[in-house]
């Protein structure tokens, strides 16, 4: 088991390196040297250009050096916790994104939890009551959820809230808590606001996972061991939960590595629509104003978080499914 964990962690390193390269690639994409464009822009607006700061930054990121040197410098800084400087906010990137990344993680994990909490029981019900009215209804609802992309659902929900309930679903906090420091009351306030984005983000995945759970369980239910167990007189409930469900859940846990990026991705765009104080709106703003270090840091951190959680899910799978260890 320990050697498995170590191997998985070692596997993660090249993944993280490639992710950092992709993020750096995005930083490099806008034409020209970033600082030069920025200076031109500032001068055009007759704003005072802080030459010293710019020279210091040019030196720090080695903008006059070849690409791989720039990448190495940037990476070296990142490893020390310095993600560069955000022009838009006039602050180091780290100071800007900390809370956003944390909130994104909270919202995504809550959605993940909801996906499993809803999809597994409904999947079990659908499989054990195959072709019943309930199964058909749930399948239909599931497909509807699957086909309603979360940002469209968010728009429709916003519209419904506005048009029918005269209520706004925007944001993650009540106005009085918006800029308040973290406190117990603020956390409570967040929890009362969080359920809407969480539902919006998880709906399509819930629908997909109901299908997966249903199909997996149906496959398992046909197998010999179920017949044997039933023949031996095991109670239907115990029989179901002890063997086939356990087998059917495995692919869902290993599916986490696909599910999580999907949720984070959905959380990003839903956040833009619902103006949540998570990464979405800020990433969009950073991309629009070409605040490259900020957007690069977002993409790097979001991807790294998903990779780490994927690792955790693999370990979880190894723990749940004893057969994995022999690999």
């Amino acid at each position: 088991m320990i050697s498995y964990i170590i191997r998985r962690i070692l596997y993660m390193i090249p993944t993280l390196i490639i992710i950092s390269m992709v993020s750096f690639f995005i930083i490099q994409l806008p034409p020209g040297d970033y600082l030069t464009t920025k200076i031109a822009q500032l001068e055009a607006q007759d704003e005072l250009v802080n030459r010293d700061l710019i020279d210091a930054l040019r030196e720090e990121y080695g903008l006059d050096k070849p690409l791989y040197v720039q990448y190495a410098k940037w990476m070296w800084n990142v490893l020390q916790g310095d993600f560069g400087y955000s022009w838009e906010w006039n602050k180091p990137v780290v100071d800007v994104i900390g809370e956003q990344i944390l909130l994104t993680a909270v919202v995504s994990l809550a959605s993940l939890l909801l996906v499993y909490l809803i999809a597994i029981p409904i999947g079990i019900y659908s499989a054990t009551h195959q072709y019943s009215a309930g199964d058909h209804a749930l399948t239909f609802l599931g497909f509807l959820g699957l086909t309603t992309p979360n940002f469209l659902l968010a728009i429709v929900l916003l519209y419904a809230g506005y048009a029918f309930f005269d209520k706004s679903f925007i944001g993650l906090f009540s106005p009085e808590f918006e800029n308040a420091p973290w406190s117990f009351a603020k956390v409570l306030d967040m929890l009362t606001h969080m359920w809407i984005p969480v539902i919006v983000i998880s709906v399509s995945s819930v629908a997909g996972y109901i299908r997966v759970m249903r199909a997996n369980l149906l496959d398992e239910l046909k197998k010999q061991y179920v017949v044997t167990a039933r023949a031996k007189g095991l109670s239907e409930r115990r029989l179901l939960l002890k063997y086939p469900v356990r087998m059917a859940i495995n692919p869902m846990i290993s599916g986490l590595s696909v599910l999580l990026p999907h949720l984070v991705s959905g959380a990003t765009i839903t956040a833009v629509v619902l103006s949540l104080p998570t990464t979405g709106p800020m990433l969009l703003g950073a991309l629009r104003s070409q605040d490259v270090y900020l957007s690069g840091a977002f993409i790097l951190l979001l991807s790294t978080l998903t990779v780490i959680s994927t690792l955790l899910s693999d370990l979880l799978l190894a723990w749940v499914d004893p057969r994995i260890r022999f690999e």
Binding site: Y159, H262, V264, S303
Partner: protein, 377 residues
């Protein structure tokens, strides 16, 4: 004699099954999935809509009807002129200014009506850029308007814009999927058939790409498309970005199938008979898993359509003057606006229809892909 008659009618039924070609078997199996058949016809209809946008759209999607800004959808009436008619008509749309909010409030004036005309001569257009004509399938006499889905803030007919928008929205999925299909089949093929170091490298790359949340990455890449690009260039840029992450699924499916199939007896037999690698892949392996690959890529089309919509909605994807469903939905960003003009959300319905249909079609195809899996006979 009666007995003989009965058997002869039964045997061809069975024989038909045994001599049927694979695609016939697939079709029979597909037909059993009723929803998939409906979905297929919806998809065909939608693509026809896109192909025949010019005559089907009542108006030119760019023409502004300045006296009809944010006009609500007009109803088609059979009851007009004080009696019931067999032929429908639309009422004249008039507006007055709300004294409090200064908004234009539209209402239908039942005293002034115009018959709905089919194959009506309206604005001139060039059909597929080939010849000029002015036939519109739907229209009404001059003086009246037929805005079945209302108009947007610039007074452009929403129905026409949705119809024209389907061209971009529906084709981007196909082109994107085709590109990721090519990439996937080449890289997956190398990975699965040769194994070893190339397999390891390709698998690693796939794993990395799958672990990156797609929308932030798409956003990052498309934000970098230069603003100066022509619409056509942006279109292909976005397609490329969408397929940048899309090929991994296909590559995985190809690899998995190849790994399983190359151990089969018929592959070994071909190898022993001296067939080259390329020939074995092309002639023996590819045909037996092509159907699976087609299924897996069908299921990717909705994702691409949605990707384009999401990016355009955020303002990072396609931009006007290109019309796509995402570009149309961009008008829905201000939710107060939408509350007053809910018809602007109509493109959502089209999106949901096409995505639902692709999903059902994929479902049906998945069952039909392997017609030998469970024999009905």
């Amino acid at each position: 004699m009666r007995f003989l008659h009965r058997t002869t009618s039964a045997v061809p039924e069975k024989e038909k099954y045994f001599v049927a070609k694979p695609h016939e078997l697939m079709w029979w199996k597909y037909k059993k999935h009723k929803l998939a058949v409906v979905a297929l016809s919806v998809i065909v209809l939608m693509y026809l809509l896109a192909a025949l946008a010019e005559p089907l759209a009542p108006y030119n999607p760019e023409v502004r009807h300045l006296r009809h800004l944010y006009a609500p959808p007009q109803g088609i009436h059979f009851w007009y002129d004080g009696s019931y008619h067999l032929w429908p008509a639309v009422c004249k749309l008039k507006f007055q200014i709300d004294p409090e909010t200064l908004r234009e409030i539209y209402y239908e004036d039942p005293s002034e009506f115009y018959s709905v005309r089919l194959f009506h001569r309206g604005e001139r257009y060039r059909m597929w850029g080939l010849f000029e004509t002015d036939i519109h399938v739907l229209g009404t006499d001059s003086g009246g308007t037929i805005f079945l889905f209302g108009t947007d803030g610039m007074g452009r007919d929403l129905l026409s814009r949705i119809i024209y928008g389907s061209r971009v929205s529906l084709s981007i999925g196909f082109i994107g999927v085709f590109m990721s299909f090519l990439l996937g089949i080449i890289l997956g093929g190398i990975s699965g058939y040769f194994g070893g170091v190339p397999d390891l490298i390709i698998q690693r790359i796939i794993e990395v790409l799958r672990s990156i949340p797609s929308i932030p990455l798409w956003m990052g890449l498309s934000a970098a498309l230069p603003m100066t690009w022509s619409p056509l260039k942006v279109y292909f840029g976005i397609t490329l970005i969408l397929s940048f992450l899309g090929w991994t699924g296909t590559a995985r499916a190809v690899r998995g199938k190849l790994l399983a199939l190359r151990e089969e007896d018929f592959a070994m037999a071909a190898y022993l008979a001296g067939a080259s690698n390329a020939r074995i892949i092309r002639k023996h392996l590819l045909p037996s898993f092509l159907s699976h690959i087609i299924v897996s890529i069908t299921l990717h089309i909705p994702g691409m359509i949605l990707g384009e919509t999401a990016l355009s909605y955020l303002g990072l994807g396609l931009r006007p003057p290109i019309i796509s469903w995402g570009v149309l939905l961009k008008e829905c960003q201000n939710i107060q606006d939408v509350a007053f003009h809910p018809w602007l959300l109509l493109p959502v319905l089209f999106l949901m229809f096409i995505i639902l249909s692709f999903n059902f079609m994929g479902d049906g195809l998945r069952d039909a892909a392997d017609p030998y899996a469970s024999r009905v006979a």
